[in-house]
């Protein structure tokens, strides 16, 4: 009994570990073979699987859209162009609805965020053992294919959005204006330390919530998928039940995948809009 729980928890643990490249305990650089090594690598290590799949999907996104952009014309659109144009139109409508200032960066930013995150979320609909299994055959100890279940990916994007927010806040309002926004409200000026703490927390909360919301949803969904996958090994009846569960969960996740990408995009637009507003 003990060995079975061990294998199940090992199975789950294994699926939740990234392929990490960093400095090994013996001083050489390489891929970590177990969790202890991963823990010892510290900050200067990199998740090869997260990077690989996120960049792959990002390039896939850009290729898909670039193909249309290259031949885009105002004639009657056909198949693929139609699809890409409806996505662009959808993002453009969202940006027009929430973003009131004028900035040519925001709409492409929103499109990138939406489609990239959607693709990164969507590959979790692949069976949890498929690509890691293939990678295992190729000799890789760990593979976690869904980049958005890695907080590094979601925080990386949220930090990108945060940097743009700070950049445009300072650019539009000036350092003084941005500072005044942080220090002189909501309370009177003499209470500026309180204001600074409140507004500072509010400011930091934006990227953190952005990243954690996406990560939390995707990570929890992934764990459910892994748990369902672990059920396959528990006999014929439970295995069949697990198949049904996986189907249901995958269908439900079609919604979550799209919704989380949409939420991330909408909040990005809203935060960028707030960065462009002179007064609150």
């Amino acid at each position: 009994m003990a060995s079975e729980t061990l294998t199940t928890s090992y199975y789950i643990q294994h699926h939740l570990t990234n392929l990490t490249y960093g400095k090994l305990p013996d001083g050489t650089w390489g891929v970590a073979q177990n969790n202890e090594q991963v823990a010892q690598m510290g900050f200067w290590a990199i998740h090869l699987d997260t990077m690989f799949f996120s960049v792959l999907l990002g390039i896939a996104f850009l290729l898909m859209f670039r193909v249309v952009a290259k031949t885009a014309n105002s004639d009657v659109p056909s198949g693929w162009q139609n699809f890409i144009e409806s996505v662009v139109e959808f993002v453009d409508t969202s940006v027009r609805g929430s973003f009131t200032a004028k900035n040519d960066l925001v709409a492409p930013l929103a499109l990138t965020v939406f489609v990239w995150i959607f693709l990164m979320n969507a590959i979790k609909l692949l069976p949890v053992d498929m690509i890691p299994g293939l990678a295992g055959l190729m000799g890789l100890p760990y593979t976690k294919i869904v980049p958005t279940t890695d907080p590094n990916a979601t925080f990386g994007m949220a930090l990108g959005v945060f940097a743009l927010m700070i950049y445009y806040s300072i650019k539009i309002k000036g350092p003084g204006g941005f500072g005044a926004e942080l220090a002189f409200q909501p309370f009177p000026k003499w209470m500026f330390p309180v204001n600074l703490v409140l507004e500072g927390v509010g400011l930091i909360a934006k990227p953190v919530s952005l990243a954690l919301r996406l990560f939390g949803n995707m990570y929890a969904g992934e764990i459910i998928f892994i748990l369902i996958a672990a059920m396959y090994g528990a006999g014929l009846l439970l295995g069949a039940f697990a198949g049904l569960l996986q189907l249901g969960w995958a269908i439900f996740h079609l919604l979550v995948v799209t919704l989380q990408a949409f939420i991330f995009m909408t909040l990005t637009i809203v935060y960028m809009d707030m960065a462009h507003q002179e007064h609150h």
Partner: protein, 156 residues
């Protein structure tokens, strides 16, 4: 779940993708969309204009047809009137002419009759005279034939 340099890698990848999208993906597609929007709007406006013009043309055509009908009716009326006039005119002319011809014929006939009568009278007188002469040659009985001769003369 450890935060490590992947964070930086992701942020860099994020910026690169956003930059690429902003530079090479978004502008051409949105330009094409705008252009098509404009094209469609122009097309709709043109269709609207065409429809309006067609309505105007139809209206004008109806007016022209109505006017033509009116003119045709007027012309027919006038023609009928003119025809009646001509018929009346020729009727009266014919009547006058006929009357003139009849009158001329009558006059001629009368003349002819008179001439014939004069001729006849002369001839009868000469015949009568010749007859009388022949009779008188045989028997001149003035008393007995005076009455007869007188009667003859008056008859002629």
């Amino acid at each position: 779940m450890n935060i490590n340099a992947t964070l930086l890698g992701q942020a860099i990848a994020f910026f690169v993708f956003v930059w690429f999208c902003m530079k090479f993906v978004w502008p051409p597609i949105i330009a094409a969309l705008e252009e098509r929007k404009k094209k469609i709007a122009d097309g709709l406006a043109a269709a609207e204009r065409g429809k309006h013009e067609q309505e105007l043309a139809e209206q004008r055509a109806a007016e022209v047809i109505a006017q033509a009908k009116q003119e045709a009716a007027a012309i027919i009326n006038q023609a009928q009137k003119r025809a009646n006039e001509i018929v009346d005119e020729s009727k009266s002319t014919a009547r006058v002419e006929g009357e003139r011809i009849v009158a001329a014929a009558n006059a001629e006939i009368e003349q002819e009759v008179n001439r014939a009568r004069e001729q006849l009278r002369g001839q009868v007188v000469s015949i009568a005279v010749a007859g009388a002469g022949k009779v008188l040659k045989r028997e001149i009985d003035a008393k007995a034939h005076d009455e007869l001769l007188n009667d003859l003369v008056t008859q002629i």
